[in-house]
């Protein structure tokens, strides 16, 4: 039957670009954290430069993310109700509990790692020593780094699970309702996190070896993303998974989606190839493209998914930025992140984050700020 809609309603996207930002940042934070954790927990000195970048990424994005999330609530003042009226059938309700654990955990973890350095700065004779004494909470022990890290790591996995599931279970949105989605969120999270680390490496570290190493890992992460994508398409095309097939058919045939598919493919393939054949001196490029790939994936899933009518014909306009306010939200969250990054690199002795000390008094590197 050929059908032409003559009168139909248009639905606005109900999840705004804020949501994209949240899912983007929280995925980067958790995956970055998971990349940092083994180094600190297993005590791998070689890994420290990379782990420090990862931690920095995890902390800064981890703080920004829930702030973006709050903005996606139309009644942000009522956030406390999440805790007062937890509805256990809702993944979002669970998320409401996990997010603070994770974010608190990341901050505490980072603090713990930096505590010795903070303490030391508090002991020196300078104008802001009191601030650092205060920040160090009057001590320098950090034996709790490992249990804290494990708890936070679990929370990070919880976040990856809940964010994936929260979206995946929405049967009404075929593009979301695919079993692979949580994995894709995680994998693209790694891509984004590595991308950020690459860029920060270029800005702050300038270590060619680290750049190469990160690029190698990016190759791996992109391969996983590409692999998942391929599986997604195979499942959808072959009809083996009806959910995937439905997802594909929901957007197939629209020029804009063909362009998105090509764009997405390029966003994976281009950095993959560059990082593979030229891992050195390309960190800026691969990093930027990787961040963009992780972001664009979520934008496409969330805004694009909401542009697919559930009962109407054609597509809604949701794919395009929803007005100035929506764009400001996107830029604003990046602004906050940048601010935190500057603050972090300025005030935190981040290069001194070392392996946790089982006892006090172990040697520590000199201050470098």
């Amino acid at each position: 039957m050929e059908i032409h809609e003559l009168v139909g309603a248009v639905h606005d996207a109900a999840w705004l670009p804020w949501a994209v930002q949240y899912f983007f940042l929280i995925a980067i934070s958790t995956t970055a954290f998971l990349m940092a954790l083994p180094t600190f927990v297993l005590g791998n000195e070689d890994g420290l430069p990379r782990a420090r970048l990862a931690l920095m990424v995890a902390v800064t994005t981890g703080i920004t993310a829930p702030i973006a999330l709050l903005a996606d609530l139309h009644q942000p003042f009522r956030f406390w109700e999440f805790y007062a009226y937890t509805h256990t059938t809702s993944w979002m309700a669970w998320g409401a509990w996990i997010v603070p654990v994770y974010v608190g955990g990341v901050i505490a973890f980072a603090w713990a790692l930096h505590r010795p350095a903070l303490h030391a700065m508090g002991q020196e004779n300078w104008r802001f020593a009191w601030v650092f004494r205060w920040l160090a909470l009057g001590g320098e022990t950090n034996w709790f780094v490992i249990p804290l890290g494990l708890i936070t790591g679990a929370a990070a996995l919880g976040i990856l699970t809940y964010t994936g599931m929260e979206v995946m279970i929405v049967r009404a949105r075929p593009l979301w309702n695919t079993p692979l989605l949580p994995l894709q969120f995680a994998a693209t999270g790694f891509v984004g996190a590595l991308g950020m680390m690459l860029m920060l490496e270029r800005v702050l570290d300038h270590s060619k070896t680290l750049e190469v190493r990160l690029n190698r890992q990016l190759v791996f992460a992109l391969a996983v993303v590409g692999g998942l994508g391929a599986i997604w398409f195979t499942l959808a095309r072959s009809g083996l998974s009806s959910a995937h097939t439905e997802a594909l058919t929901s957007v197939a045939g629209f020029t804009v989606w063909r362009m998105i598919a090509i764009w997405g493919g390029l966003a994976i393939a281009v950095p993959f190839v560059i990082a593979l054949i030229q891992p050195a001196h390309t960190g800026w490029l691969t990093g930027l493209i990787a961040i963009h790939a992780a972001w664009m994936f979520r934008w496409t899933v969330f805004m694009g998914g909401q542009a697919v009518p559930k009962v109407g014909s054609g597509l809604y306009d949701a794919l395009m930025p929803t007005g100035v306010a929506g764009l400001l939200g996107v830029i604003g969250t990046f602004g906050l992140w940048l601010f935190l990054l500057i603050a972090y690199t300025t005030f935190m002795p981040w290069t001194e984050a070392g392996l946790p000390r089982r006892s006090a008094g172990a040697p520590r590197p000199a201050r470098s700020i």
Binding site: I3, H74, H87, R173, S313
Partner: protein, 258 residues
């Protein structure tokens, strides 16, 4: 086609289960919610049974006049750019035969298995005792998760109250013995409303006498809005080109200025 067409028996079976489920499961929450909203309570009838509201839309009678759409807007102060109900109009061409018109009224189905309810993180949306799926706006955090979860695009965020909004089956009217606004004003007589638990109600009779179907049966939401004459090709997301919508213009809010 038959999987999504139900006869009367199917409907009755479903309705009974639905009612039982609502009594066993969700009622407590709903009753307390409604209590906070005012003195109303569930509608009961002379013989004491609990009413289960439902709508039967006879597509053969819809003339696409949109009286329902506008009445709903007026009755419920539905903000600009949103609808609690509207009527989609399609030109269809079956097997390259003569083109023909379908007018398809859409609204919340007040599903007995509503996917919008379990996702709500704060239990702000719930199924009331007479079968209505409602939102307690004083509790809703406006997370829009329910908006995503509804397979019918029946929910939206009300940009005035900043909370989830949707058809209430005109809860405020049925509580007072009145018809929903859209039903009261239905020019073609396509929308019919009543108690599915009452075998003598007009809607029960219609379900008995006609082949009926629901929208998106594959979602297993068990809607309480039934359709007579609904072609399968239109019961889900409707393929084909979207209606023309002119670009939005900016000078829409100067009314107050003079």
């Amino acid at each position: 086609m038959d999987t999504n067409r139900r006869g009367f028996l199917g409907a009755i079976g479903r309705v009974t289960i639905g009612a039982a489920a609502s009594i066993a499961g969700v009622t407590e929450a709903s009753a307390s919610e409604i209590a906070t909203g005012g003195p109303e309570s569930a509608v009961k009838t002379k013989d004491g049974h609990t009413v289960h509201w439902g709508m039967v839309v006879d597509l053969r009678k819809c003339i696409g006049c949109q009286a329902c759409t506008v009445a709903c807007i007026m009755e419920n102060d539905v903000p600009e750019d949103s609808f609690r109900t509207h009527v989609s109009v399609y030109e269809v061409l079956k097997d390259r035969q003569d083109p023909a018109m379908v007018m398809l009224p859409r609204l919340c189905n007040h599903c007995d298995d509503p996917p919008c309810v379990p996702v709500c993180p704060v239990e702000a949306t719930f199924k009331a005792e007479n079968g209505e799926v409602l939102v307690d706006a004083s509790r809703c955090v406006g997370c829009a998760y329910c908006v995503q979860a509804c397979p019918y695009d029946a929910r939206f965020i009300n940009h005035e109250t900043q909370t989830a909004d949707k058809c209430t089956f005109c809860y405020h009217r049925t509580q007072e013995g009145l018809l929903p606004a859209c039903v009261e004003t239905c020019v073609g007589g396509a929308r019919n409303f009543g108690d599915l638990n009452d075998p003598d109600s007009e809607v029960s009779r219609m379900l008995r006498d006609n082949e009926v179907s629901v929208l998106r049966p594959e979602m297993h939401t068990n809607p309480n809005v039934y359709y007579i004459g609904l072609d399968e090709a239109l019961d889900g997301r409707v393929a084909g080109e979207a209606a023309y919508h002119p670009p939005l213009t900016s000078n829409t809010h100067h009314e107050e200025s003079l």
